[in-house]
């Protein structure tokens, strides 16, 4: 176990997650004819990532900001761990909810360490505990300790976004709100940050509300996806797998895209489906048959197959040991004959 993992595991052992419930929530701005959010109800189980996704203006960010009372709702209720947010002082409520925004909003006048430990200091932790937590968080996000004394302007965009996540995690909140957190990062770093966040989430198991307009990011990050339409109307609330397999209506089908079959195949790896153990009877010899690792997605496997006259591929584990063969029939079976509910989501 690396130092980072140890720190994360130690932090994880203390951490908790709380379920979040939207109960007939509505938000009506005075002077506006149509409500921004209309009768929105869904529940995010503790420890799950719920992605709010939809076209711009659909109310997804508004819905997220209702949770920590950055915007006050006009109807219904939001419950965190069964308790209504209406009964809480906004500032105190917010200290228990991690908050990450696209523009990050680090405080330019204080160094990285003081940015990260802002909430613990608001909560009145003692000096020693704050220093300890600061060091722990830097390790968690993979920044060297000496970066703690730098100012935000001296960091790269990716590093700043990591610091933003660390600041949100500082006081061990049971719930995190993330508004397009990786939206302003270049594609290569975005993917790296997404993977890092999924690794962290695998250890910390927070309840997360994640807002994005990018369906691919939603599929990648979400345990559950809430697809919203104009006016904050919830069109479908489901696992990524089921949203891709059975879009609720034409709007969802169009939103997830015509390539939803391929997207769905990207959710499963060849290691997760049943493989043929007997070598296929075809023209490929043992040496010129294409070989893939068990972590290859069905989508990539299919792509490799297409380039090789649809001949089955040999699948090997991380050590190069034979696991079996995957054919186009097996991929087809995996997509169509497996009950969608228990298809593993590779997050």
């Amino acid at each position: 176990m690396t130092k980072t993992e140890t720190a994360a595991a130690q932090a994880g052992s203390r951490m908790s997650a709380a379920p979040l419930e939207f109960r007939n929530v509505s938000k009506h701005y005075p002077g506006s004819a149509t409500p921004a959010i209309k009768d929105l109800s869904f529940t995010v189980p503790a420890g799950e990532v719920c992605v709010l996704v939809g076209p711009s203006g659909c109310g997804k960010t508004t819905a997220m900001r209702l949770v920590n009372r950055m915007i006050d709702l006009t109807g219904g209720d939001i419950l965190i761990d069964g308790a209504s947010i209406a009964d809480r002082q906004p500032a105190q409520l917010r200290r228990e909810i991690g908050y990450v925004i696209q523009q990050i909003g680090l405080f330019p006048h204080v160094n990285i360490l003081n940015n990260i430990t802002m909430v613990p200091r608001l909560l009145g932790w003692d000096r020693k505990r704050i220093a300890q937590r600061g060091a722990e968080l830097l390790e968690l996000i993979g920044l060297p300790q000496e970066m703690g004394s730098r100012f935000p302007s001296q960091l790269s965009g990716g590093q700043r976004q990591r610091v933003g996540v660390a600041r949100a995690l500082a006081a061990d909140p049971p719930l995190m709100l993330m508004d397009e957190p990786f939206g302003a990062i270049d594609p290569i770093n975005r993917e790296r940050l997404q993977n890092e966040f999924l690794r962290l989430q695998g250890e910390l198991r927070k309840t997360v509300v994640f807002v994005t307009h990018d369906i691919d990011e939603a599929i990648k990050m979400g345990d559950r996806i809430a697809i919203l339409r104009d006016g904050g109307e919830l069109v479908q609330f489901d696992t990524p797998e089921r949203i891709l397999a059975e879009p609720a209506d034409e709007f969802v089908a169009q939103f997830v895209g015509a390539d939803r079959g391929l997207k769905r195949m990207a959710l499963t790896t060849v290691g997760e489906i049943e493989l043929d153990q007997t070598p296929p009877a075809d023209t490929a010899s043992a040496t010129d048959r294409e070989t893939v690792s068990s972590t290859t997605t069905l989508r990539d496997a299919l792509s490799i197959m297409m380039a090789d006259s649809l001949r089955p591929l040999r699948v090997v584990d991380a050590d190069g040991g034979d696991l079996g063969y995957v054919s186009i029939e097996l991929i087809n079976q995996a997509i169509h004959h497996r009950p969608t509910g228990d298809m593993a989501v590779s997050v």
């Binding site: 950055m70 909003g105 006048h109 909430v119 608001l122 730098r150």
Partner: protein, 245 residues
């Protein structure tokens, strides 16, 4: 060479002569070091101290008033226009006229001088403090509220520190302005570096006294300005980091 025209009713400047005056002074040359040195303790030093006092008190009181107004107007935006109008009005009154008007109300005393000087600082300081508070990026404020800072904590921990460079810039302008305006105050009250300047004029144009006090006034402004630059460097190390220095 005369820096000041000799008084019309006399042949030359009235220069005190107690029998040991140097020829430099008797000839009213541009600047006589010996006279400046021997009168430092009796004329220039007390005038300098009075001048610093006048400026410090005016800027100090002006800052407290402007700061209170700016913080209030930052939350209650409707106040911005009336306060700015009032400040501009005070700022546009010519200094001599301001002193004259005030004398008719408050009399010839130290308060009159300070009231006038304070009124000149208000517009500069109010505008700069407000500009500093308003220039903070909305995402920083959103993050501050979003992670649980109250409005008061946001003001103290985020807004004021970030407004500091602009606030200090305002203080620099205010201090330099007041140092120059305070010389005019001697027209009403014999105080500050304006006193030796007015005395020199009244005595028909004694160059050493006039230039000595004038140069001290300029030097005081430069030093005060420099001190604020140093203060800003110390208080806002992050601003240098942002500029990539």
């Amino acid at each position: 060479m005369y820096f000041l025209a000799p008084a019309a009713d006399s042949g030359g400047p009235v220069i005190p002569n107690f029998g040991k005056t140097s020829s430099c002074v008797l000839d009213n040359k541009t600047f006589c070091w010996d006279w400046f040195r021997s009168n430092w303790g009796s004329t220039f030093e007390p005038a300098l101290i009075q001048h610093i006092e006048l400026t410090a008190i005016a800027v100090g009181i002006g800052f407290v008033i402007a700061f209170t107004l700016a913080i209030t107007a930052h939350r209650a935006r409707w106040m911005v226009t009336p306060v700015t109008l009032l400040g501009s009005l005070l700022y546009t009154i010519p200094s001599l006229a301001a002193f004259e008007i005030l004398v008719s109300i408050t009399g010839i005393n130290w308060y009159t001088v300070e009231i006038a000087l304070v009124s000149y600082t208000l517009l500069i300081l109010f505008t700069n403090i407000l500009a500093g508070l308003s220039s903070i990026s909305p995402e920083v404020l959103d993050a501050a509220h979003g992670i649980g800072l109250t409005s008061r904590q946001t003001l103290i921990r985020v807004e004021l520190p970030l407004a500091l460079p602009t606030i200090i810039a305002g203080l620099r302008v205010a201090v330099v302005t007041i140092i120059s305006l305070a010389t005019v105050a001697a027209y009403i009250m014999p105080t500050g570096l304006g006193k030796p300047i007015f005395d020199a004029i009244a005595s028909g144009g004694f160059n050493t006294k006039f230039i000595g006090a004038g140069v001290m006034c300029i030097a005081l402004a430069l030093v005060a300005d420099g001190l604020f630059v140093v203060l800003q460097r110390i208080l806002t190390p992050w601003a240098a980091a942002r500029r990539g220095v």
